[in-house]
């Protein structure tokens, strides 16, 4: 065990004197307060310095981060306002169309209280449809999707061929023009070599191939009669626009750049030409693939799997873990909740445990679970078991304590015994709460399983995402996210249906 001390160190940095708090080990054989000498420029920090040093650093970092967050938030405001405007426009448009198609008087709007009456607010189905369509529309127009009519596409990046002219001046002041032919092609395409005529004069025509969204350096003097190093040749004009920039001179100012519409052409510090074709407004497929790409990926993976694992296997493993973990959690959590709701002793015994474990997110336990159980199924199911356990226990407990005392009294005065009251009053009365808990627990389990698979798994929908992220297959990542969302939604719908079927008296007591 090495002793450690907190030091206040002063050092020169960028011409400024900075004092920082840092922890430093005490060298072997030295004892603080006896023979320990702090390093050069440092001295032992007092208690107050340790305290204020920590919080000073924390404070200044948080201040900077707050600034960053606010800056990002303010930047998002126009998009946010735009989105709200679109929602409102769609609403008025839909209402107008509806009242045009079905002109009838809607008496519900004449009710005295419709605004603020929560029960009067229903989810409007057309709004949901338009909302989803709108998401795909935005997605499509930002990716140049074939599903979206092309006039809705944002400007695409430049592809194809174009050229620009550069003018060379050699050391003697002779000038000559030559062309650069630029071909911009999609990633992965393999265009044939092209030949261009060299042209006359000492400057010769060049060609360059650029992948879309990338830029390319044109070493224009590679084939010319003069070059930069030996002849002191330099470019003095692009497309006839003259400028004064000499890469070989000292203190030569900022290199010029030219917007040609289809590309940005810049002279580099070394005198070469940098060609950046126009990237347009669309997102690169690496950042956001088009909907149809994701759909095709889905078909492909559904048929042939990803990385030798079929999609059904990925999905099946994830669902298996969730279902088994949830069932185990419910099997232990519900009796535990009942015991806590019915017995003071059990309540006292388990209250500290439950209240301590409940706020601990299962994800925080992943490292421990891996250490204890390895990365096999047992560990992951244990994690989900824990996730479901506390939720189910608390739901069952509040279901039991939530029984109206008059119901218990009524059952007693009808001659029921304690066990009969448990069986016929307390348990049925707690079922709605348990179902609510089960829905929450299922949601949490589904979220946890994906996160657990991100950390360690052989197969599973989360594992598919992790693998895809290593190959930068954004389409598969996106596909995984969509599958997770759809399956989670589906699970909740099933639970709701079961709830309506099994506890129809919910909220009607």
């Amino acid at each position: 065990m090495v002793d450690t001390v907190n030091l206040m160190c002063t050092r020169q940095r960028l011409g400024e004197e900075q004092t920082t708090l840092q922890a430093s080990p005490v060298p072997e054989g030295q004892v603080v307060g006896e023979n320990y000498t702090p390093p050069e420029g440092c001295e032992l920090a007092s208690g107050w310095e340790v305290f204020s040093g920590q919080f000073g650093t924390l404070g200044s970092e948080l201040w900077t981060e707050t600034g960053n967050v606010l800056f990002a938030a303010v930047g998002a405001i126009p998009s946010f306002i735009g989105y709200v405007l679109i929602i409102l426009i769609c609403m008025f448009a839909w209402r107008a169309v509806k009242s045009f198609l079905t002109p009838k008087r809607d008496f519900t709007s004449l009710k005295t209280v419709t605004f603020g009456d929560e029960s009067a607010v229903r989810s409007e189905f057309p709004a949901s449809i338009i909302s989803i369509v709108f998401i795909f529309l935005i997605w499509g127009s930002f990716t140049g999707s074939a599903l979206v009519p092309s006039f809705l596409h944002l400007p695409a990046p430049f592809t194809g061929e174009n050229k620009f002219t550069y003018t060379v001046e050699d050391a003697e002041g002779n000038r000559d023009d030559a062309d650069v032919f630029v071909r911009v092609f999609e990633a992965g395409a393999d265009p044939d070599e092209i030949e261009v005529a060299e042209g006359d004069g000492f400057a010769k025509n060049d060609t360059t191939d650029v992948t879309v969204y990338r830029s390319e350096i044109v070493t224009w003097d590679r084939n010319d009669g003069v070059n930069r190093r030996d002849d002191g040749a330099r470019i003095v004009a692009i497309n006839g626009e003259e400028f004064d920039f000499d890469a070989s001179a000292e203190n030569n100012g900022t290199p010029p750049s030219f917007e040609l519409g289809w590309a940005r052409v810049a002279i580099t510090e070394r005198g070469t030409i940098n060609v950046s074709p126009d990237a347009g407004w669309q997102m690169q497929p690496l950042y956001l693939p088009a909907p149809e790409v994701v759909w095709n990926r889905f078909i492909e993976i559904a048929k042939y799997g990803y990385q030798n694992v079929y999609l059904t296997v990925h999905l099946g493993f994830s669902l298996f873990r969730v279902v088994v973990g949830f069932l185990l959690g419910a099997a232990v959590g519900i009796p535990l909740g009942y015991a806590m709701g019915l017995s003071n002793w059990f309540r006292g015994w388990f209250d500290p445990i439950v209240e301590f474990m409940r706020p601990v997110p299962p994800l925080a336990l992943i490292p421990l679970v891996i250490i204890w159980f390895g990365i096999g199924e047992v560990g992951k199911i244990f994690l989900l078991f824990l996730a479901a356990l506390w939720i189910m226990a608390i739901a069952a407990r509040s279901g039991v304590s939530g029984v109206r005392i008059t119901k218990v009294h009524a059952a007693y005065s009808l001659g029921a015994s304690k066990w009969q009251i448990l069986r016929h009053v307390i348990i049925p009365n707690s079922l709605p709460e348990i179902f609510t808990g089960a829905r929450v627990a299922m949601g949490v389990c589904w979220g946890t399983v994906v996160a657990a698979e991100l950390v360690a798994a052989e197969e599973g929908i989360g594992k598919m995402i992790t693998t895809a992220s290593k190959f930068q297959s954004t389409d598969i990542i996106l596909l995984g996210v969509i599958i997770i969302g759809v399956v989670g939604f589906g699970i909740d719908m099933l639970m709701r249906m079961a709830e309506r079927k099994l506890v129809p008296w919910k909220g009607k007591g």
Partner: protein
């Protein structure tokens, strides 16, 4: 000995802050088999506490209650209870609610089903036997509660403002029903109510309680319940004795309320 004897009941609640509330002080009362007693009083006079003690939900701090000659030591099927609302089991159908008592007692289905159906007919729910209770209106639910209590054939029926949450019209119908059931079954009934009209119309005996500590203030023996069995309750109200009695009790309770308010203000 059949009937109900409340003997010197006292109830004291200790509060967490060390003080205590004397909810009932030396309440003594005898009810013969088949008597209908209604209990009136300002809020906080211990009506419900008294009923809970008789039902066996609360153990009194002094005195005892005897039913059919034995001391009450907890809830029992011999003392049925009808609550204001919310005491039905909404996970059961109307029929299952009403047959709850006999089922819990382990009786054979054939033995109780006839009675259950009969009771549902009596309370006018013959068309709603298979419905779930949450599908019924408030008045219908209280009729289920009455039938459920009767199906268990208790000796004493305790009613804690059973009609308090109903609208005026339903309430009047239900009052006639209670009288009819009382006469037909001959049960001993204690009815707690906030409504003076209800107490007068339904109470063969009317007990007015006073608060702080809760005690019996005055007792009346009235003819209106007997009259109401066969007559329209509105006709009963036109009886020459009705209005003066009503006025007397109203003034009595009013004065008690005034006194409470005065005491609270003086204390404040």
């Amino acid at each position: 000995m059949s009937g109900l004897a409340i003997d010197n009941i006292s109830m004291r609640f200790d509060l967490p802050n060390g003080s205590h509330v004397q909810a009932l002080q030396d309440v003594t009362l005898d009810l013969k088999q088949g008597e209908l007693l209604s209990v009136l009083g300002p809020s906080g006079c211990g009506k419900t506490t008294l009923l809970n003690i008789v039902a066996g939900f609360l153990a009194p701090t002094g005195g005892e209650t005897r039913v059919n000659g034995h001391v009450v030591e907890g809830p029992d099927a011999e003392r049925g209870m009808v609550f204001q609302q919310g005491a039905l089991f909404e996970w059961m159908s109307v029929r299952d609610n009403v047959s709850f008592g006999p089922r819990m007692a382990g009786k054979k289905k054939a033995d109780y089903m006839g009675n259950v159906d009969h009771l549902l007919d009596v309370v006018g729910l013959q068309d709603f036997k298979e419905k779930m209770v949450y599908e019924l209106s408030g008045g219908m639910q209280q009729r289920v509660a009455l039938a459920r209590c009767l199906a268990n054939d208790p000796d004493v029926i305790l009613m804690d403002e059973p009609l308090g949450a109903l609208d005026a019209l339903t309430r009047e119908k239900m009052q006639s029903l209670v009288l009819k059931l009382w006469k037909e079954t001959g049960k001993t009934i204690i009815l707690i109510t906030h409504s003076i009209d209800e107490a007068l119309l339904l109470g063969e005996r009317v007990l007015v309680m006073a608060p702080r500590p809760g005690r019996i203030h005055k007792e009346y023996r009235l003819p209106f319940a007997e009259m109401g069995v066969d007559a329209d309750l509105r006709e009963v109200k036109e009886h020459p004795d009705y209005a003066p009695t009503r006025e007397e009790i109203l003034t009595m309770i009013w004065n008690m309320e005034e006194e409470i308010m005065g005491r609270t203000e003086a204390g404040a």
